[in-house]
């Protein structure tokens, strides 16, 4: 059955791409859990992460080392954003927070253009392995790598949040800022750490996304699509980010592949709208009784 095989192909591809969305979504969730701020600059952070890695590989670093150094850079960028733009906004209305992350996104876009120009760059192929065919489905080694690294990172995050001291502090901060502070947790440091995490995640997603597509300004759009995943899974749930990312990736590819290719572009936003109307808190989000 060729149709079924085609379906399988789209299913596999969707699942793997969903892994990237899940990782971006995790970056949004980590920040939201700690600081209650939604980071619209997430797409641009991953874009500049990809560009930094590209530059490091270009000056002759081995790829793995380049990714590690770029991750450190990403963490620093994240902390800098938090310190300069976000921390003065504590206590300000939500619109200020939204618009300031947009402003950060513009600044990152401008910086990227300034250093790397508008021409598309390609990361060199460095992942071991090659595309192969199994059970009638074409498996791309890049996507497999992406997917496994995503799963690994989620596992690390789960363990970190569950067992480490800092992870516990972060969960306490997510629960209640003031209460956490009275227990001796440095809430401001937690904010910094959360943004540093997000920076690291952004660099890794940037590299994978840059390998799959190529490095240019439109890479940042993937960040917006990840919001569908975040809303689907619930803003404050890492598990939700994982499942939301996979579901969005799957639906996007299945609808684009089986029904209509042009629908692929807006599938995440349709999902977003439907979830918002019927279950605004998402699948795994904490239901808050909020007055409207």
């Amino acid at each position: 059955m060729p149709d079924f095989q085609l379906f399988c192909q789209f299913f596999i591809n969707g699942l793997m791409i969903g892994g990237i969305y899940a990782l971006i979504a995790a970056g949004i969730v980590v920040i939201f859990k700690a600081t209650k701020i939604i980071n619209f600059a997430v797409g641009d952070m991953l874009m500049i992460g990809g560009f930094i890695t590209f530059q490091l590989i270009k000056i002759g670093m081995p790829p793995l080392l380049a990714i590690i150094v770029a991750s450190v850079g990403g963490a620093l960028i994240g902390m800098a954003i938090e310190r300069i733009a976000i921390r003065p906004l504590i206590g300000q209305p939500i619109l200020s927070a939204i618009i300031i992350t947009f402003a950060v996104s513009f600044i990152i876009k401008g910086t990227t253009l300034l250093f790397w120009g508008a021409h598309t760059k390609n990361l060199p192929e460095f992942l071991p392995g090659r595309v192969f065919r199994l059970a009638g489905v074409v498996w791309s080694h890049e996507l497999l790598w992406t997917f496994s690294v995503t799963m690994l990172l989620f596992l690390v995050f789960a363990l970190f949040y569950k067992f480490s001291k800092t992870g516990l502090d972060m969960r306490a901060t997510a629960e209640d800022h003031q209460l956490a502070q009275t227990r001796g947790i440095r809430v401001k440091n937690i904010f910094s750490i959360a943004w540093a995490f997000a920076g690291v995640i952004a660099v890794i997603t940037g590299v994978f996304l840059g390998l799959k597509l190529s490095l240019n300004l439109t890479l940042a759009d993937a960040g917006l699509k990840a919001f569908a995943a975040v809303i689907f899974g619930g803003l404050d749930s890492l598990l939700g980010a994982l499942i939301g990312g996979l579901v969005v990736g799957l639906l996007e590819n299945l609808i684009g592949g089986v029904i209509n290719p042009s629908l692929k572009e807006i599938t995440p936003y349709l999902i977003l709208l439907i979830v918002l109307v019927f279950r605004p808190e998402g699948l795994f989000g904490q239901k808050r009784i909020e007055r409207i």
Partner: protein
Amino acid sequence: MRPGGVFDVKYTEDIAIIRTKAHWALLLSGLCLLAVLPLMASSHYLVVFNHIGITIIAVQGLSLLTGFTGQISIGQSAMMAVGAYTTGILAKRYGIPFWTAIPLSGLSAGCVGLIFGLPSLRVKGFYLAMATLAAQFIIPWMINNVRVDITGGVFSLVVPPPELMGYRLDSQFKMYYLIIPLAALMTFFVKNIVRSGIGRAFIAIRDNDLAAEVMGVNLFYYKLLSFFLCSFFAGVAGALWAYWMRAINAENFTLIESVFFLGMIITGGMGSVTGAIFGVIYLKFLDELARVLPMLIGNLFPAISVGAEAALQPLLFGLGILVFVLLEPRGIAHRWEMFKSYYRLWPFSD
């Protein structure tokens, strides 16, 4: 604050927008200046002025929704697209004159705005922003993919110039005299809407929606009304855009434009009619700076490449907003109020 020695002796004086003779003189000279401005402006600045006029209309609408009602929308430029395409289709296929097409575009955009405003009854804040973000992507997609036979799809839709009794408004100079009076009129509308019962209901919802509901403000009605008005303004702006550009494409109405509009409200000052105008002019000025600066730098230091133009625009825009939100969260309008009270009290200010 009232200038010294001005007292209200009648109720009509208390609610007047323009209170003193000096106000009238300033207003009239301002209008005269606007009327003669295109005679002095170069062709490039004529385009800039027209763009500012159109943007002011869209931003005044968004200011009603975001600044006064407290509902965040990042889909304003999609609503402009609805208005632009309504005008395009009406004018091109049915030959409807502009003074009918512009209000009809406002109405059609308003109705679309109502649909995307519906989630505002269940969600608010960030979630509402997400719903309007979805609108920002779904509407241009529909323009490009649904009923391509009437919208022209990815190819631009060519719009005939507006015609008034056989007189064709087919240049930037002539369009100026359509755009700027409409911008002034719409600003006047907004000023009066926010002074009326509707505006007070909007402000009540923004400040505390629960208290507003207890006081008898119908949240359902007023939130949707706010969305309708916001989109109506966007529709009018879009219609003018269609007549101004005379070729419209869904690519003109992107998320970046919507974020620009929000940025203009923030930098101008939330909940202020004058502030919206200040915000538009400020950010358009930054745009111009981003255009001129690379040339200047290129002249002074030829070693630096001139290709920085594309990079400067987002950089300046981002920094321009960042600085305002961090240092003056109440926007330019607040500074303007401080300046006014300063000169009214002078020489006894400080």
